[in-house]
Subunit: 348 residues, 2 copies
Amino acid sequence: MKKKLTIKDIAKELNVSISTVSKALNDSHEIAEVTKKRIQAYAKEFRYKPNFNALSLKNKKTKTIAVIIPNMLKYIYAQVFNGIEQVANEQGYKIITCVSNEKTSKEKEILDMLTNGSIDGFIISPCLETSINKDYMHFQNVIEEGYPIVMFDRVPKELDCDKVMIKDHKATYNAVEHLKNTGCKNIGFISTNKKLGSTKKRKKGYIKGLEEFQLNINENIMIDLTEYHYKEYEKIITPIFENNHIDSVITTNEATAIAAQKVAQKLGYSIPNNFSVIAFSNGILARHASPQMTTISQHGEKMGAKAAKLLIYRIECEEQTPEYETKIIKTDLVMRNSTKSFLKLNYK
Amino acid sequence: MKKKLTIKDIAKELNVSISTVSKALNDSHEIAEVTKKRIQAYAKEFRYKPNFNALSLKNKKTKTIAVIIPNMLKYIYAQVFNGIEQVANEQGYKIITCVSNEKTSKEKEILDMLTNGSIDGFIISPCLETSINKDYMHFQNVIEEGYPIVMFDRVPKELDCDKVMIKDHKATYNAVEHLKNTGCKNIGFISTNKKLGSTKKRKKGYIKGLEEFQLNINENIMIDLTEYHYKEYEKIITPIFENNHIDSVITTNEATAIAAQKVAQKLGYSIPNNFSVIAFSNGILARHASPQMTTISQHGEKMGAKAAKLLIYRIECEEQTPEYETKIIKTDLVMRNSTKSFLKLNYK
DNA sequence: TTGAAAGCGGTACCAG
DNA sequence: CTGGTACCGCTTTCAA
């Protein structure tokens, strides 16, 4: 690496002191205009840049935030990352991105590695293992060390920190409502991680919807695919669809929805005429499926942006420590062609 | 932020000097076993961690690498990121991830922001704008400042640095060969960025294949969709398919392949019986399409891993500056159900 | 208006 | 075997 220009070099070159250079570059009023101009011009000409580590050491601030996500290959996390990146960028923050790969041990390593002054705060979605075991001590420790954390997506209610989440409950409830409004009567539910808090909430919202709209409640058509690989989904689903006069499903992710759609089609249903599908999703799969799929969008980018704003606010508020906030990102039902359209006029 | 434990604190607490503590913690042989044990025990108990910025300032090494990609929402880049992340993690490196959003100006800002001692080197895939205009000065400048760069994916041959790339030419050539082997005679080609170097190479490989296998060469069935949004793909493709007895296509990305597949099906073709599709892809779209799609896999994770290894090697080689390397990642034809199967036995 | 010096948290050389 | 000190690059207080 070529030696970089430092304040010292400039001072020597221009026959002034180090502190004069420093002040001139920070546009201090203590320095005479001429001197300032001379120094600034020199700095500009030779592309002086203050050293990042020296500044961070001095300020105890790095203008860097850490993002810990379970898996970058999941579209929702890539979206959240994007949202964070945009806000961080606007505010002059860098992002250190780490992937926990759904392992608690990796999560701990990452926290350990970064709580040494590398970063000013964390944005985290806890991994599956952590969420299921409710094993949050490592987060708690970091919070106690004084690092700000914003949790998103899978948010532990046990932790005291800023949070960004969606209303899972409401999302499935609304989906049930839409299906009922478009004439569905026997709505199935497919999940892939029954132990996850969000899955439980989604199922609750679904059941509440069934109850409230007086629809059929049938345990047999609530399917959990936790233990299966996506290649087996169709095999598992097929007999259940065959034996239960299902006319629609809500699924907690895209891949299962695609499988459900294929199974329904193979069984001779026509989507959306006599079979409807709604999936939690943010992805490309839904947009490119045939027919294109009606989805519950979680607005990953918004979540990310909101999380970043919360974190940066907290970092920059210094010692004032405002109350912890929990922001709710609204989900939307994105109407495509796997459900019938419902025009309110019909009901007037 | 709570005050963190420093070497100074430990020294004071244990009534030894700062240098003794430093040496003890680095397990220096200069220090008596007893003293070492005492100091190390204390450090462990109170979770001492050396300050990142102090170390980086001293060593002029940050154990951090910057990754600049055009867009995290593209699966291939998320894969590359994953590959980088894994290797970096093993080697104790952190990653600062930046997104250029396909804008040269953003790329410049990022380079400017990070060339201040924040990081030890770059892994970059230049954005579209940069690639098309061959506007590489900003990279050149950074290289001249002494920062190691590894370029991947869209690699400028004008730049002198380490590179990781695929053989675009060979990839399409092989695809043509496979199609010919499975009986296709009239192979179309669909691209989305005709100005991009890789697209040109892919087209060349395709044409070379056609020539060598004595297949029909027809400009009308080489389609470029640069100017269209994906929603319009089907509209553009349909008349071309209708008027040209096409029996197969090779496409440079997934979304166009899906569109082609849908159009072919609407026109009454049966895939793969009388219509075949091969797409450049790494994504989920191909795996979940109906039928599942035969693809040219670019092995994003391998590219990332290789790039990270190259970069870290160069960073740690210090002043020895080994010759720049260009690594080729082999593409694979992943056989699925959008092409007929070709068993060599048939030809014996 | 300018400069000397201390300090941020470490490492490493050299003296004792 | 232990400690003093300079230094990494910058900011900031205080003295001149």
